[in-house]
Every structure is written in structure tokens, then in C-alpha cells.
């Protein structure tokens, strides 16, 4: 999928069983429970979701939950519950069809879709998983541009993280 392409629509269950999919300006973040890169960026991404009211945020876990039990649907539910809830849904992509449709590579891998459903940003949340002060700046820049009706100046970066655990 290239920048400007129509992003695939989908409907996936969250940790309560409710279905969610892209709706308006949407950030789709492929992520998981076990990857240190995903964990390092997690708080920054939660904060983006809190800060951008009106944008749909969807965290999607596509990892093989049998080989990696810490990424099973049950483990996802337990994580959200023990965190006292998240500001956005945490979705299970059991068949991995959504991850394949997006050609997601890593956890995390961020895709930003505009209100017309077109891909406007893809890549890492920011330049350095080690540095919390980066504050998911690349995603925020892209969100600001899309919400202002502009093209993000930095539309694509290399996703950085653990490989997706395919079935």
C-alpha cells in the first residue's frame, strides 16, 4: 500500500468483543504485548490518543497467539484490564488478514488514514524508541497536517520494532 492509496476497511473485536474499524481520520497502530519496541512506545501512543479527541485510534494485535501466548486474545484482555482500560480499543486480528492487507511489518507499525480513507502516513511513531521526549512526534506532525487538510511533510518512515509473528 502506497501513500495516497485507499486503506483497507475492516472490523475487528476489541477486548470486550465489540467491533471497531476505521472511521474518519484514523490511526491504525499494529502493536502487541511482548515486543520491547511496542512497549517502549506504548505510553507515547496512548497520550496521542488522549490528545487528539475526534480522531479514531485503533491498536491492532496480529501476532500468532499460540506460539506467543503473551499475545493471545486472553492476554490482551488481561493487559487492558490490569491497566484499568485504555483510551482506545485494542483489537484482535486473529486471522492476520488486516495486517496482511496493510502490509504491516513490525510492532509497532503506524498507519494514518484521512477522512476519505486514504493512507497519509506510515512508519514509526517518532525517531527514537529510547527517548520518551520524542513524544510520537512523527505521528503528531502527520495528524496535525491531515487535520489541517494538508499533506504530511514526512509521509513515510521506516517502521522499527519486532517482526510480526505470522501464523
Amino acid at each position: 500500500m502506497q501513500i495516497g492509496d485507499q486503506a483497507p476497511t475492516f472490523s475487528l473485536p476489541d477486548t470486550s468483543g465489540d467491533q471497531h474499524g476505521p472511521d474518519g481520520v484514523t490511526a491504525v497502530v499494529f502493536t502487541c504485548n511482548h515486543c520491547p519496541y511496542a512497549l517502549a512506545w506504548h505510553d507515547r501512543l496512548l497520550q496521542v490518543a488522549r490528545d487528539y479527541d475526534g480522531v479514531t485510534f485503533l491498536a491492532v494485535n496480529p501476532n500468532d497467539g499460540e506460539r506467543y501466548p503473551t499475545d493471545s486474545y486472553d492476554a490482551m484482555k488481561q493487559r487492558v484490564e490490569s491497566d484499568g482500560g485504555w483510551p482506545h480499543p485494542y483489537l484482535r486480528d486473529e486471522s492476520q488478514e488486516v495486517a496482511r492487507a496493510y502490509d504491516a511489518k513490525t510492532t509497532p507499525d503506524v498507519f494514518l488514514i484521512d477522512a476519505e480513507g486514504r493512507l497519509r502516513y506510515r512508519g514509526a511513531p517518532d525517531a527514537d524508541h529510547r527517548d520518551p521526549s520524542q513524544n510520537a512526534a512523527w505521528l503528531r506532525e502527520a495528524l496535525d497536517a491531515v487535520l489541517a487538510g494538508q499533506e504530511p511533510a514526512r509521509a513515510e518512515t521506516d517502521p522499527v520494532g519486532c517482526s510480526i509473528k505470522w501464523l
Binding site: H34, C35, P36, Y37, L39, A40, R67, Y68, H129, R130, P132, V160, G161, C162, S163, K165
Partner: protein, 106 residues
């Protein structure tokens, strides 16, 4: 001193871990080549007692032993830095302590 770095290609962290390990060894005056061991299958992970990438061993012992019951598989290892942050690589100061411990035990 025998130093090994076991890694799996599914995690991009091993070059950074290797650079930090080599720096610590240099700082500590240890003249040891780091043997790089690629782990390519779950079976090899179990055989090598590999809890995730990267794993650093000194004289055959995990420099930063994982928790009890940690499974051995092709996965990315989660470390904690001394300030509590999650990291794909060990805290260099923990590595330094491990090198010093191994040297003292010889």
C-alpha cells in the same frame, strides 16, 4: 573470558546490543572477541536455552538471567533500564556489572 551474543533476525536490536557490549568490554579492559550466534528456530532456541534476542552470555552463563519460567523461543527480549524504562537492549551498567562479576569469579 568467553563472550557470546545470541540473536534472532526478528529483532533489530542486536547491532545496538553488540556495540554496547563491545564498548563495555573495552572500558573494562577485557580483550575478548564476541561470538555471534544466530538462533534460527524454536528448536534451536530451546536447545540453546535462548529466552529472546539479544541474549548475552559470559563464560556460558546468561549475563542477565531471565526470570524463573521464562520460555525459550524466537522472540525479542524485554529488558528494563535502571530508570525503569522498557528496552530491547540491556542497560550498559548492568552489562558492566556482569562483566566485573565474571572476571571476579575466574
Amino acid at each position: 573470558m568467553k563472550v557470546e551474543l545470541l540473536w534472532w533476525e526478528g529483532c533489530p536490536s542486536h547491532p545496538e546490543a553488540l556495540a554496547e557490549l563491545e564498548r563495555v568490554l573495552r572500558d573494562e579492559g577485557v580483550e575478548a572477541e564476541v561470538d555471534l550466534v544466530e538462533v534460527e528456530s524454536d528448536e534451536q532456541a530451546r536447545r540453546e536455552r535462548f529466552p529472546g534476542s539479544p541474549t548475552i552470555r559470559i563464560d556460558g552463563e546468561d549475563a542477565l538471567p531471565p526470570g524463573e519460567g521464562e520460555p525459550f523461543s524466537l522472540t525479542c527480549r524485554v529488558y528494563r533500564l535502571r530508570d525503569g524504562r522498557v528496552s530491547p537492549t540491556p542497560d550498559p551498567e548492568d552489562l558492566r556489572e556482569a562483566v566485573r562479576r565474571a572476571r571476579a569469579d575466574r
